[in-house]
């Protein structure tokens, strides 16, 4: 990665301008050509330095039901429960965190009813009580990682 790669990564995290020729505008801003930018973007995506480039939809605004939930999984059952959750399409992310509540996951369902059923299903499947923490207010969402 050189300086232009870093500047491109940082600039593209802020968003492509919604103008008729966005790459030309960005090329002018970064003092290069649009061909060069697209080539570098292609490489950064292929190398896995960037995981995605495209519209970031606020999928929650478009419908569906979501929550953050946690389980306190006994250490000897941790892998088994992780596998059980892995197999559920409603589980979008799942992280181990160092706490008594050691498994934290996001559920994404089509409707509130599906979500309620999925929560019950997980409790039944794992035999563990679940902590259900749906968001009540959003103060900020915006990842930015300076390269």
């Amino acid at each position: 990665m050189d300086d232009l790669d870093r500047r491109l990564i940082n600039r593209l995290q802020l968003g492509l301008p919604l103008v008729r020729h966005p790459w030309r505008e960005l090329a002018a801003e970064l003092e290069t050509s649009s061909t060069e930018l697209l080539g570098r973007l292609h490489t950064l995506l292929n190398d896995g330095m960037l995981t995605r480039f495209g519209p970031m939809f606020d999928i929650e605004r478009l419908g569906g039901a979501f929550t953050l939930a946690a389980l306190a999984v006994p250490e000897e059952r941790f892998e088994e429960v992780a596998e059980q959750l892995h197999g559920l399409p409603e589980v979008a992310h799942n992280y181990r965190r160092e706490h008594a509540w050691n498994m934290w996951f996001v559920l994404a369902c089509a409707t509130e009813q599906d979500l309620t059923e999925t929560l019950h299903h997980i409790e039944t499947l794992t035999g563990l009580p679940l902590l259900n923490l749906p968001k009540e207010e959003t103060y900020h969402v915006g990842l930015y990682f300076p390269a």
């Binding site: 919604l18 292609h42 950064l44 480039f53 519209p55 970031m56 606020d58 799942n94 990682f145």
Partner: protein
């Protein structure tokens, strides 16, 4: 997963999502490609994107870095027990810190006292500890106790995906 969509313009929005959720093609004229796919002219396509972005349905058209590859290997979910009456002001303040990527109010439970969640990312464990200290300072005596739940393993990360039109769910 599939998501139920019910706003009037949504067939178009749904097609846009299915077309671009894996990414926008790296073309010199991406709007021309999108316009052709959607059966709109370029101007209408750009107007649609601008409107969705203004409404917040699209946050932005942007690159998502692999933050591990950029060196951000440490992340902590900081959780805070904040006095309810101070939440609107303090939630906004904490969310505005540049090192906080996500900030939400969530309900308290019998065995969970924390109502404010702020996610922090850093290149070292010291860095995220310092961020936590700074948040503690900003919250002051409006916050009783807090914890930071450090992530030690990703068990699943598929993100949200809308199924194409063949989905059995109504869209």
């Amino acid at each position: 997963m599939s998501v139920c969509i019910s706003r009037p313009e949504d067939t178009l929005v749904q097609r846009l999502i299915v077309l671009t959720q894996a990414g926008l093609p790296l073309l010199d004229d991406p709007w021309a490609w999108l316009a052709e796919q959607l059966g709109l002219n370029i101007e209408a396509t750009l107007d649609l994107l601008k409107r969705l972005q203004a409404e917040g349905a699209i946050r932005r058209i942007a690159a998502v870095p692999n933050h591990y590859r950029l060196g951000y290997r440490h992340n902590g979910m900081t959780v805070w027990d904040v006095r309810d009456t101070d939440m609107p002001r303090l939630g906004a303040l904490i969310g505005a810190q540049p090192f906080v990527s996500h900030c939400y109010r969530r309900p308290r439970r019998t065995d969970w006292r924390y109502n404010l969640f702020a996610m922090v990312h850093g290149r070292s464990s010291d860095e995220i500890n310092n961020y936590r200290e700074h948040l503690r300072y900003l919250l002051g005596d409006a916050c009783g106790t807090d914890e930071m739940l450090v992530s030690s393993r990703i068990l699943k990360k598929t993100g949200f995906r809308l199924k194409p039109a063949s989905s059995t769910h109504p869209l």
